[in-house]
Each structure stands twice: as C-alpha cells, then as structure tokens.
C-alpha cells in the first residue's frame, strides 16, 4: 500500500498533463512568433514536434532508471548535495519567474480586451486563489483539471472555419521560402510555445505505468502539435505576411472574423475561456516549483506552495521597466532549453557512475 501511494497517474492523465502544460499563452501568439519564416511557417510546428519528441527520449530513458526520483532529487543524487541544492534553488527561481511571465502575460491581455480600465490586482488575486485550489489537490487533481480544461476549450477550434472560408489556400506554397537565419529565429521563438512537456521529469514517479509513459507523453505532444499546426495553417491562409509580423495575438484576430447571429466578438469569450488553459499549465508549473522547494528544504510541506505563490505575486507586482521585463522573458528561453537538455548531461553522469560501480565490483 505504501509503495503504491505514490502511483496515481494513469495513462490518459499523462497525455493531458503533457498536452495542457504545453498549451498556454504560447498558442495565442504562435503565428506571430514564427512570422520570420513568412508563409512557410505552417509546417514548422510539425518539426518542432519532432524535436520535442526527440528530446523526450533521453528524459524518459533516464527516469526509467530512477523510477522513484524526480529531477530535483536526482540532481542531488547525481551532482552532489550542495551543488544539487544550489541548482534546485536556481530552478525554483526560474520557475517562479516563468509562472509569473505566463500569468502576467495573460492578465495583461484580459485587461486590454475584456476588462479595460481596471487594475490588475484583484483579478490576479482571484486567479491565485483558484490556482492554489487546483494545486492543493496534488498532481492527480491537476491532471484531472487538465483533462477537463482540454475538453472545455478544444471546441473553440470550430470557430476557425470562418477564417478558413475567407483565407487563401495558395499561401501555403512555396513550402521552403526562407533563409537559414529566419528559420533559426522562428524555431527559437516557436519553441517557447512547445515547452512544457519537460515537466514530466517531476511527475514521472507518480505515473502508474512508467513503461508506457513515453507513448502517452508523445500522444500528448502530438495532440498539441496538431492543434498548433491547424492554427498556423489557418493563420497563413488568413493573414498577409505583414499582418503576421504585426499582429501580436493572431488567434484573437482569427476569432474576430467569426460571425454568429447570437453573439459577436467571439474573441472576448475566447480570451476569457483561455483562463482554463492558463490555469492548468500554471498549476502544473506551480506544483513542480513546490516539488523543487520540497527537495531544497528536504521536507514536504504544504506551505511551500503558498510561499512560492507569494513570491510569484510579488514578482508580478514589481514594476519592472519594459526593457528589463523583455530582457528577463527573452532569456528565459535559454534556461528552458538548458533544462530540456539537462537530462542528457545527467545520463552522461549516470553512465560514468555505473561504469565506476562496475569497475569497483
């Protein structure tokens, strides 16, 4: 019984945890992020999906060898206690900034579109209460919320039919009209929207059927990629190249094209409904940050999650200048990519250690 207490995530939980922690704010601006590639961007999400799936392999491989560990405890195991703890603290700080960036980005958008002339504080506070409520139930509760929010939001794809009707399919050609530089820039910007699957490094020990984790996580990744590809294709059809560069949140413009007899301006509804996606991915990240805090303090306390959320709250309310903000959020990408590649380094250490063990025995 004790041994089984940890195991609580079923296959479909993993699918939707992966899927929902990927979809968040990133999707709203994806076609804009990829705009350096012009009309040829529409297949880029597919390629990003392949990259994501490839980087998933070492992650799963590593954790199958340490089925009881998450990335934080593994750090301590692999690179030593002091160094590991320092790294974990650093990771937690990074996560705090990252969650802050998601929430702030979303609420800024809400402020602009749905609730003009209001201050951010109260909606933010309400958001946090709800976020803590989700996280309070533990990873399984988060996973269930992810499943729920997927089905509550996925029907919004239906509204893309209006822009499809107005768009021009001929924009999809030519397929490869870009330079290497443009391609790399688009990949770098676009990968931000793909990130999120690496959280599996933390909830891996909770998965019941760890052997199938790779398959499930891949399904999650590809659901996301399919949605992303659909959205980018529609954007390419509907917009001109200039528009994709200039319009920060193309999805909202796509929703503005919808004409219904009983409601206009579906974009307001859409951005409000987006709270489900933001909540689920922020909850997953917050839970991970809490695990990091647990590992750092070497105990398991509920108040860590309050501590972290207060940090996030404060961070959001610090009035950074626009430049600093951009500097911080832009550089987050490199951390992100470092984290995704970090398991490769750990595998190296693992190989060295096991060889040493073999040699000694």
């Amino acid at each position: 019984m004790d041994n089984n207490k940890l195991k609580k995530l079923k296959g479909y939980h993993v699918v939707f945890l992966v899927q929902n922690s990927m979809v968040g704010l990133g999707l709203l601006s994806l076609p804009n992020q990829l705009s350096s590639m012009g009309y040829s961007q529409w297949w880029l999400p597919l390629m990003l999906g392949i990259i994501a799936n490839l980087t998933l392999i070492p992650i799963i491989w590593l954790f199958l060898r340490y089925p009881q560990d998450n990335i934080f405890t593994l750090n301590e195991k692999m690179i030593g206690k002091v160094l590991g703890k320092a790294l974990n603290l650093f990771l937690v700080m990074y996560l705090i900034i990252f969650i802050a960036s998601i929430i702030e980005g979303y609420l800024d958008l809400i402020m602009i579109i749905a609730l003009p002339d209001r201050t951010i504080t109260t909606p933010l506070f309400i958001f946090f209460i709800l976020l803590l409520y989700v996280v309070h139930g533990g990873i399984k509760s988060i996973a269930r919320f992810c499943v729920m929010s997927f089905f509550l939001t996925v029907w919004m794809i239906y509204f893309l039919q209006w822009p499809i009707f107005e768009g021009d399919v001929r924009h999809l050609l030519p397929v490869s009209n870009f330079t290497l530089e443009e391609f790399l820039l688009a990949t770098r910007n676009g990968y931000f929207a793909i990130c999120g699957y690496e959280l599996i490094m933390t909830y891996f020990p909770y998965i019941i059927n760890q052997k199938k984790a790779f398959k499930n996580a891949s399904i999650g990744i590809w659901i996301t990629i399919l949605i992303y590809t659909g959205v980018t294709i529609v954007s390419v059809m509907y917009f001109s190249e200039w528009q994709m560069e200039e319009v920060l949140y193309p999805i909202l413009k796509l929703y503005k094209a919808v004409e219904l007899s009983f409601a206009e301006r579906i974009d307001v509804l859409g951005i409000s409904l987006w709270v489900f996606l933001i909540l689920s991915s922020a909850a997953a990240y917050l839970w991970v940050a809490k695990k990091g805090m647990d590992a750092f303090r070497s105990n398991n306390k509920t108040y860590h999650v309050y501590l972290i959320s207060i940090c996030i709250f404060i961070f959001i309310n610090i009035p950074f200048s626009k430049d600093t903000q951009e500097l911080i959020y832009d550089n987050l990408f490199y951390f992100k990519f470092a984290i995704i590649l970090w398991p490769n380094f750990l595998i190296l250490l693992h190989a060295v250690k096991s060889r040493r063990k073999q040699a000694s025995s």
Binding site: R170, H171, E246
Partner: protein
Amino acid sequence: MNIRIIWLISCSLLLMGCASELKPSAVEDVALVSLIGIDYVDEEDMKVTLAIPQFSSSTEQTNQIYTTQAGMIKEAIVDLSSQADKEIKLNGLRVVLFNEEFATSGKMWEVVEHLYRNPVIGGNVFVVIVKDTAEGLLNGDYPDKPSIVTYMNALLKPKPHIMFSPFTTIHNFMYAHSNPVVDIMVPYLEHKESIVELSGIALFKHDKMEEVYSREEGQIIQMLSGVRKIPAATIPLSSNGEEREEVVIDFLNTEVDYSSNKDVDHPVLDITIKLKGSIYEYRGEKDLSKSSEYSKMEEEVRKFTEEQVEVIIDDLKEKGIDPVGLTENFRMYHHGEWTEEMDQRVLENMEYNLKVEMQILATGTLR
C-alpha cells in the same frame, strides 16, 4: 492553522477591495459608436463624424451625430466626449465611411490601421467609400428608414443581389494593403437625396484610390476572385436596330480556376471560368424549347461574358491594378521575397488565356 487565518484575512481584504472597484457602467451609460465618417480637410486634418444609435423613444432623432476636426481618430473622440451625454466607446463599431477625396489622398490606410490595431474593435467592421462627403451621408434625412445606423448596417449585409460588392472589412483592407499581390477594393456608395446606393466598387493602387468600377464590372471582378454566388446579370445578345434581344441570367454557381506557367519572366496565366446559370427573363425571337437555339444562345452568352472579362483584365493590366490577386499564382511558385515591383512587373508582362464555360441549366418553371 496560521496560514488559514491569513487566508481568511486576505480574502476579506480582497472583498473590501472589490467594493471600491465595482464601478458599474452599464450598457445604457455608454454611447457605442456605430458609424464613423471621415472627410478630407487638408493634409493634416480630417473631419470625423460619429453616428451613435439613439435608443430612447423620448427624443425625435433616432441617432446622435457628432462632428469635429482632428488629426487622429482618438483625438476626435476625446474632443467629442466633451459634447456627448455618455461615454463614447468604439466597441460596437460597424462601418467606417471615407469620402472619395480622402481615399485618393492616400491617407486612408493610416486610419484603418489605427482601427485595426485597437483591440476593442471587432474584425467585421466594414470600410466603404462615399462619393461626396461622409458627413453629408450621415446627416442625411432618410424618412422611410428607421435610422442611418440600421440602414447602413442592413445595406452592407451580404445579400444575393449585391454580391458584386466586395464588402471589405478592416481586416480585408489591411490584408490587401499589406499584401503585395492584392490591391484594395472597397464598396463605393452614393448618397442620393433620401437613399444611399451601392453604386460600384472603388479600386486602389497601393495607398490611393484610383478607379471606380460600375456594378457590372464589379461583378466580373468578384467572379474572378472566386466568389461562388454572384447576382443575376442582364446580357444583351444582339442590338441591331429596333429589335433588342436580351436575356437575364441568374448565376447559380461560378467557379474560377487558375494555372500559371510558374515563370516570373514570361508569365502566362490560364484562366478557366465555369458558369452555371438559369434563364430568368428572355426577350427575343429564339424559341428556347428547341435545343439547337438553346445551345446557340448558350454560346452567345458565353462569348459575351468572355469578352467582358477580357476587357476587364486588359483594363486592370493597363492600369497596373490587381484587386483579384492574379499574381498570387506566380508568387506561390517563387522562392525569395515577393516585392511590390516584381508584382507590378509580372502583372504588366502577363499573358493570359481565358476560357469560359457556360452551362444554362433551365429556363425556369415556365417554357
């Protein structure tokens, strides 16, 4: 336990915050601008006219009209707010009217872009061009219509018989403006005493309005753009002497197919138009129950349409305007950046082979 007490306190603090923040401004306290008219004054300024639907039955007027001169839209709204009884908001904008002079001055896209960037404005806001002044149109007296706002709104709803008009929204406008392949086309309105008429379409070259096409010409452009349902057309078959032979064809379905030779330097475009229609009205000598005469007429109609399309394409080529996006068929095979100059060059050098297929399905329920 302590944390829970903190929770309790913070929640109650939060609710106190709500009380002060709940500033209700309900729908009746805002003036939702439905129409904006913009007229040309000089290089710097424009005349902005706002039409706001007046719901209250207590006043005679069915809408409020405000006019001011300003350099920018926002400036005008701030200015007009001091006259209005309510808070002016652009959330419910439906139509933006520009006068012809403003459109030819080349500043139009700046205004549209400003509206396009505003997040509270929807995407389905129509852009139209008015022959004389937008202010005159908005201030006009329309005794048999409820108000100018509902009138304009109803007029610009796509209906079968007015599909010659492109119904350009601000998105379409910005799309065409920023896309080197396509040029802007906008419905053209004329204000005639107590009515407003959709009299044609205005074609732009880059930023400036260049040409106004008639309804019939607009219809052909719509047909080339791939609109599937276009309105019925009157086709004169022969006009020798007194005896006029005419037929009104209701187009049931039109299809247009392009294929290019993918060569930018010697561009050749094959255009195939497939038309399906039924005869609405016929005046003439032919006995349509005979299949030979029937097919003869089919051929005549086909020929007439083909000639008309050729005239339009030649005209567009000559003027260097491309509202249809014919050059898109070359761009899609071209690697590298597609610039405005290239587009112009391709359009000028382009040869085309036009093929029209006509199929008249029925003569209606009566013989």
